[in-house]
């Protein structure tokens, strides 16, 4: 049975076949409640704001994108963006939330023979 993802569990999805210099779409998911600070729990108590604030994308050690988010991004944030696959190497995404927790995931870009 699949386990329920914990906050910060992250996945990066790459195309199954990548050719050199092609623009690919990178899809990334992270499990996070993204509370706005405006909703209440079952006891009527306000749930404090808790959301991903920054996302860093590095490719072969070089930063290629940086996202600034608010709690207006949906729960378990999904993002897809293009990337030109110029070389083989690691693609790392780092998500940082407003409480300072850092979640990281890495996928390897490798060319199809």
């Amino acid at each position: 049975m699949a386990s329920i993802p914990a906050t910060g569990d992250a996945r990066i999805l790459l195309p199954s076949q990548i050719t050199k210099d092609a623009v690919i779409y990178v899809r990334a998911l992270v499990a996070h409640p993204m509370y706005t600070g405006m909703s209440r729990d079952e006891h009527g108590k306000l749930i404090p704001e808790f959301y991903i604030k920054n996302v860093d994308v590095t490719y072969g050690g070089e930063r290629v994108a940086r996202f600034e988010w608010t709690s207006g991004i949906s729960r378990d944030p999904y993002v897809a963006f293009p990337l030109r696959a110029t070389r083989e190497g690691p693609l790392t995404i780092t998500w940082t939330d407003n409480e300072g927790s850092v979640y990281t995931q890495t996928a390897t870009i490798a060319f199809h023979a």
Partner: protein, 167 residues
């Protein structure tokens, strides 16, 4: 002769069909506005509230924002306002010295009007963002593209919602 008549009949049927489609769309729009335009006496979802104007000013000052180059793919009616899919794309180049520096996302009637900012680099090869956002109520959703030369381009779309998705 027969050919001419059948052709004109066909074009009549086509234009009549278009007219009916236009009427239906119009009726649908009006219905949507009366059902989901939340406050009859308050500002409509189409007007840009002062708070949203302020956010624009904070981020872009007095710089002009021009229409064009931004394609915004959003549902007309969001079935779930906690997860509204949005796809922003542009035909602007991603060359080393002429590229899309950032994509900004603004929802006029959200508590956090500036929903997200995406800083991009030419290494991406193209400029687009696909994500899911929350919406508090029916509102204009705006995507603003900032180029490395400092130009600003935008596009906006009115999205009708049914429930408050800001949870």
């Amino acid at each position: 002769m027969i050919d001419d008549r059948s052709r004109s009949r066909r074009s009549f049927v086509q234009s009549a069909g278009l007219a009916v489609a236009a009427l239906m769309l119009g009726a649908r729009g009006a219905h949507a506005a009366s059902t989901w335009g939340l406050h009859a006496d308050g500002p409509g979802p189409d007007d840009m509230p002062d708070a949203a104007k302020k956010v624009l000013k904070e981020h872009f000052g007095e710089r002009p924002i021009k229409d064009g180059h931004v394609s915004l793919d959003l549902p007309e009616v969001a079935p779930d306002s906690r997860e509204v899919p949005i796809f922003i794309e542009t035909d602007l180049p991603m060359a080393p010295h002429n590229y899309v520096k950032a994509i900004h996302l603004i929802v006029d009637h959200n508590p956090d009007i500036y929903v997200a900012g995406y800083a991009l680099t030419p290494a991406m090869g193209k400029a687009s963002i696909d994500t899911r956002i929350k919406m508090r109520r029916s509102s204009q959703v705006r995507a603003i593209i900032e180029t490395s030369a400092g130009e600003l381009w935008w596009s906006h779309k009115l999205v009708y919602t049914t429930l408050n998705g800001c949870v």
